[in-house]
């Protein structure tokens, strides 16, 4: 592949671009193959029935490969004609660039690794306050999206292919006048540049309007503050300060936080490094409907319908005496006991207490939470004014816009990077409204539902291709810089806004740079370069928190006005998808195949219901039900979720995309069909009916129904108090006899001895490590059909075990990489010495020696060895091949593969050390991909031969144990038992 790339120099100031891929993308061959060749393979990848046909193709090509091997193919080296020395460019060596991305109003700084000009991996930016080096699964996976051959590549006019000149003419023709017919519809605006453009436009066109709409947004947070304090404010929970955290339907560890930041901060008081940490450990109460990751990590969890949370919040406030005149309901004993315990705990914690409300909970709940925190005198939350105006944002704004549109008052609508036709509430009839707009210009990354409906569609540049900027809710801004020229000539929002309103096209680089140069003082150019390099703009002012107090009178009236929906019939809750968010990442194979942390569901969503509801309705996993309410209706397969609230259905948004790339098309069910403005996040009064139809749901666990540990001491846990009393209890959970080998044992006492410790206490079970591993080690995406056959290839997988009552189960999540056993059972049985041990204690796997007997996988007690049953990589278009990490071989069919502790990183670092003339590697100098990205720092890798290394220290803890040690295999990967911190009053 690389020979296709005419290597040029990376340029930190970004004046020059990588042209090569762009040129490649323009060649006819390239287009042909994108449009004709790939589909066959793609459908093949996903559709079991057509498997054979394409497998035949593979057969043919296999034959050819055999022939080609006979004589030596001529390989060309193509150096660039310009100099390389000048800007210290090293072919094959990785470069890192800082950039930033924003999802649903959460901004995270990223670090992008590029090889020879192609972005290959995304990590968090250690210098960015919201990342500190960590990144979520979605953030890491967007790099694959950049190489997605299904991305929008051409201008569309009313869904048909058009040309740039045609569009240009149309834009020139626009008569905007005073802007009375001009409307902008964008996502959550967090870009200072874009905001400044907006202000300018609204000044230039006084009658114009700019609406912000996100399918999943932070609007309720602002509205809540507005209700409580009389002004919209962002709440900033200080998770790391809180000793007692009560989460009211806030999945801040996973779905409701598309940023590693919350986990990062929360886990600070969850990690147990030493004795005193045991006392510092925080306690988490979760109140929620769906079984979320936050619920799974909570020490106590109360399940209730989303609509009942308001009442719970009211009762909590009342119990704390926060405000008179709250209508308290008589609590059932269970709920009452829980509430009492929570109140007591909160009071005790005082300033260290923190109550948070989820973005899916209405303003009223958010307001009450603000009230409660104030009453508690919590020092764990601060409020800031939005640096970027949010006055015309949210569902009501969209409703108004839709009204105008259908009333024909909108002549020009500019839709900036969003897919409202798919994501707008059903009752707004957005497609109809859109059809009433004379000129609608849609900027989008894919040819989606909106692209087809709008009069004009413009391909949008990928984050890694575009200049831009994002400011966090506190105002910390970062510059978004491209690593590569837009492969499909995509444009960015700032470019389009500028173009439409001024009529002349300016490159986003100039727009953004000019905006920031205006902000800078002193050596502007230097400041600009520094901002690009660091990934954070030093000059950008982070607004200081403001002191506010709740206006209880106003709040009381507001609460009275807040209509409490009658809780009759089934409640349906709408959730973000851990894979596709709101649907924008539906075409990303890495994410589609990353299992949902709780349900382990891949390649689709399901209507989650409680076991009780399932029994009442006689439903089992895979039964397709219909959900009806008024004139909205959808069908979806059910999945029984232990611990789910009764009489409630939870369903992820972001599936059932009709106009989408081949990967995400028609995967799962579209929940937007029953999402309405009056029940935006959860709605009452649905009727649930079985359709008799069935669908096979693919999960990465429970194919052999292993949903609990069957009383085996695998993922071990204990309560903090117990653990303090008898630390030995963890080790004693399994009886390890004295094992004497008949052979002299090998001693691994010299040099580096790599080992890993995984802390189950701080691990939340988010998929960050899984995706990090996929990106780092080129593990293939196999598709739903193959997952159903049990052939997914993740080198590190997240095991999830339930325990206890099916209605209120406890969950433990356990990441399983290769244990790198010193006496590895897999090595003994390989007939061809394809897997053996390195002097540094690694269980090496030589793919090129493997003949594929699969004996090693059979003999692996942890089943962490993965076999290439088919040539999975052959399904991928050459373009996707560009995302591969060149430091790791791409495995062919018929060979075994497994976690290597990222041996490529180990070797790189050792060589670097050798170049610098040192022998020993500093602790933490080598980070495995999973460790590097883990926001909870649950995974620690290092030299166990060095007593001062972090990993060695962790392994010294009493709660450190090796899984299946009784087999005498001496695993190098050990676990630190999960410690829970339950409230004694509730456990008693």
């Amino acid at each position: 592949m690389s020979s296709l790339i005419n290597i040029q120099t990376p340029n930190v100031t970004g004046k020059k671009y990588w042209r090569s891929l762009n040129q490649l993308a323009d060649t006819k061959e390239f287009r042909d193959w994108v449009h004709h060749e790939f589909p066959a393979n793609a459908t093949e990848m996903l559709d079991g029935n057509s498997r054979r046909t394409v497998l035949k193709l593979m057969a043919a090509s296999f034959g050819l490969a055999g022939l080609a091997a006979c004589n030596r193919p001529v390989e060309h080296i193509l150096p660039n004609s310009a100099g390389t020395e000048a800007d210290n460019y090293l072919p094959g060596e990785p470069f890192h660039f800082a950039t930033v991305m924003s999802i649903g109003g959460h901004v995270t700084g990223l670090l992008v690794e590029t090889h020879d000009g192609r972005p290959t991996k995304i990590e968090g930016n250690p210098d960015h306050p919201h990342s500190l080096g960590a990144a979520t699964a979605i953030q890491q996976a967007i790099v694959l999206g950049m190489y997605d051959p299904d991305r929008s590549a051409k201008v569309l006019q009313s869904g048909k292919e058009s040309t740039w000149p045609a569009l240009e003419a149309a834009v020139q023709k626009l008569s905007l006048g005073d802007g009375s017919g001009l409307r902008f519809l964008s996502g959550f605006v967090s870009s200072p540049t874009l905001d400044s453009q907006r202000t300018a436009i609204l000044k230039k066109f006084p009658k114009a309007k700019w609406v912000e709409y996100e399918a999943l947004s932070r609007d309720n947070e602002l509205a809540g503050a507005n209700m409580a304090f009389g002004q919209p404010l962002y709440a900033h929970p200080k998770w790391d300060k809180a000793k007692v955290v009560v989460s009211l339907d806030h999945d801040f560890l996973n779905l409701d936080a598309p940023t590693p930041f919350f986990t990062l901060a929360f886990s600070k008081r969850r990690r147990v490094g030493s004795e005193e940490d045991l006392d510092k450990m925080n306690r988490l109460y979760a109140v929620e409907s769906q079984f979320s990751l936050t619920g799974a990590n909570a020490d106590h969890r109360m399940r209730m319908k989303g609509s009942d949370v308001l009442q719970f919040a009211t009762d909590l406030a009342a119990a704390l005496g926060a405000m008179p005149g709250l209508n308290v309901v008589n609590n059932g004993d269970k709920r009452g006991k829980f509430l009492a315990a929570v109140v007591k705990d909160l009071k005790a914690a005082g300033p260290e207490a923190l109550v948070v409300a989820g973005p899916r909970q209405p303003a009223s709940v958010n307001a009450l939470v603000a009230l409660i925190n104030e009453k508690l005198g919590s020092a764990c939350v601060t409020y800031t004014k939005p640096v970027i105006d949010k006055s015309n944002s949210g569902i009501d704004a969209l409703k108004a816009l839709a009204g105008e549109m259908s009333a024909g008052q909108v002549s020009t609508l500019v839709i900036l990077s969003g897919n409202p036709v798919y994501s707008a509430p059903a009752d707004l009839q957005f497609p109809v409204a859109l059809s009433k707009v004379a000129t609608s210009i849609h900027l989008g990354a894919e040819e989606d539902e909106t692209a087809a409906a709008a009069t004009w569609h413009i391909p949008e540049a990928h984050i890694l291709e575009s200049w831009g900027d994002e400011a966090s809710s506190e105002g910390a801004a970062s510059i978004q810089q491209p690593m590569i020229e837009p492969m499909y000539g995509g444009k960015t929002p700032v470019e389009i806004v500028n173009w439409v309103t001024t009529g002349k096209f300016t490159k986003s680089h100039d727009i953004v740079k000019n905006f920031w140069l205006a902000q800078f003082t002193g050596d502007k150019e230097q400041a600009w370069r520094k901002a690009l390099h660091d990934g954070v703009v030093a000059a950008s002012k982070t607004v200081d928190p403001i002191k506010v107090t709740v206006d209880t009178k106003k709040l009381a009236t507001a609460l009275g006005a807040a209509t409490k929906a009658a809780s009759t019939g089934i409640e349906v809750g709408f959730y973000p998808s851990s894979a596709t968010w709101d649907g924008r990442y539906a075409n990303n194979g890495w994410l589609q195949e990353a299992p949902d942390p709780i349900s382990k569901l891949v390649w689709g969503n399901a209507a989650m219901i409680s076991p009780k509801l399932a029994r009442d309705q006689k439903l089992t996993d895979g039964d397709i039900i219909s959900l009806t309410r008024g004139n909205v209706k959808m069908e979806a397969a059910v999945m029984v979720q232990p611990g789910h609230a009764d009489d409630a259905v939870s369903i992820s948004l972001g599936y059932g995309r009709e106009k989408c790339g081949r990967v995400g098309k028609d995967v799962g069910a579209n929940a937007n069909l029953i999402r309405t403005t009056d029940g935006f996040y959860f709605a009452q009064g649905f009727t649930l009916a079985a359709t008799g139809k069935r669908e096979t749901l693919a999960t990465t666990q429970e194919r052999g129904t292993g949903d609990n540990q069957n009383g085996r001491p695998l993922a071990r846990e204990a309560d903090v108090e117990e653990y303090k009393k008898s630390p030995k209890s963890i080790e004693e959970m399994s009886e390890v006899p004295e094992i004497h080998s008949i052979y002299p044992e090998f001693t691994y006492d010299k040099g580096n001895q790599w080992g890993m410790a995984i802390d189950l206490t701080s691990c939340t079970g988010c998929n960050a490590c899984v995706v990090a591993c996929v990106a780092e080690n080129n593990t293939p995406v196999v598709g739903k059909d193959q997952v159903l056959r049990g052939r997914e290839m993740h080198w590190i997988r997240m095991d999830r075990y339930y325990s206890g009552d099916e209605n209120d189960p406890e969950v433990v999540e356990q990441p399983i990489p290769c244990m790198q056993c010193e006496n590895a059972p897999c090595e003994n049985v390989c007939p061809v010495q394809a897997t053996s041990h390195s002097p540094e204690g690694l269980n090496d796997m030589a793919y090129n020696r493997c003949v594929g007997t699969r004996y090693c996988a059979n003999n692996c007690p942890f089943k962490v060895r993965h076999f290439n049953f088919l040539n999975f990589h052959r399904h991928e278009p050459e373009l996707v091949g560009l995302v591969y990490n060149p430091d790791v071989s791409v495995r062919m069919r018929g060979v075994m593969e497994k976690c290597t502790y990222c041996v490529q990183r180990i070797e790189e670092t050792k060589i670097k050390a050798k170049r610098d003339g040192r022998r020993e590697i500093k602790d933490g100098e080598i980070k495995t991909a999973c460790q590097q990205t883990c926001p909870a720092e649950a995974i620690v890798f290092g030299n166990i031969n060095d007593p001062n290394s972090r990993v060695a220290k962790l392994k010294k803890q009493e709660r450190n144990y090796a899984m299946l040690a009784e087999l005498g295999i001496k695993p190098r990967t050990t676990y630190l038992a999960k410690l829970r911190n339950p409230n004694p009053e509730l456990t008693a």
């Binding site: 002299p744 590895a824 090595e827 003994n828 010495q833 053996s836 001496k970």
Partner: protein
Amino acid sequence: MTLDELKDKIGIGEDKVYAAMGAFDNPDDLVEAGRKIREMGYTKLDAMSPFPVHGIDDAIGVPPSKLGWIVIWFSAMGAATALLLIWYVGAISYRLVIGGKPFFDFSYSIPVTFELTVLFTAFATFLGMWAINGLPRLYHPSFNYSQSHRASDDLFILVVEANDPKFNPQQTAEHLRSVGAGDVEVVEG
């Protein structure tokens, strides 16, 4: 040497008398006759039978088989080969740490050693047997005997070879008839 001698040597010389041969219809008679003929002083005797006739060896003085002694050496060679191979592969050619086991150890060498021993033994036995018997051989003078094709069916043939010092065509044929042989012929080839 002369061409004829050479021809003889490589077995394409002129036909000459090979032996006097006579047939019996059951093994007991053959053994009986064999003993008698031997008593007459013949030493270069042989018999042809459809199955091993017990007692015939002593009767006509066939020495015991030496096969066993040859084979035993090959068995030893088999075992040695296996152990050397495993030792070389594990401890010399490429010392790889596998499953924490030693580079060479008898414990895990046993199965392969045994199998190779058996394999070598089997080949030694098979090839050795044919070698000692001077087979494969497509032609043999005895095939010229009119009844030789029944030696693999139901006839038991006694052979007095021509290189027997006491051999004399007419006389020997007589002796054969006298011990009850049928179809007595002096065979050339």
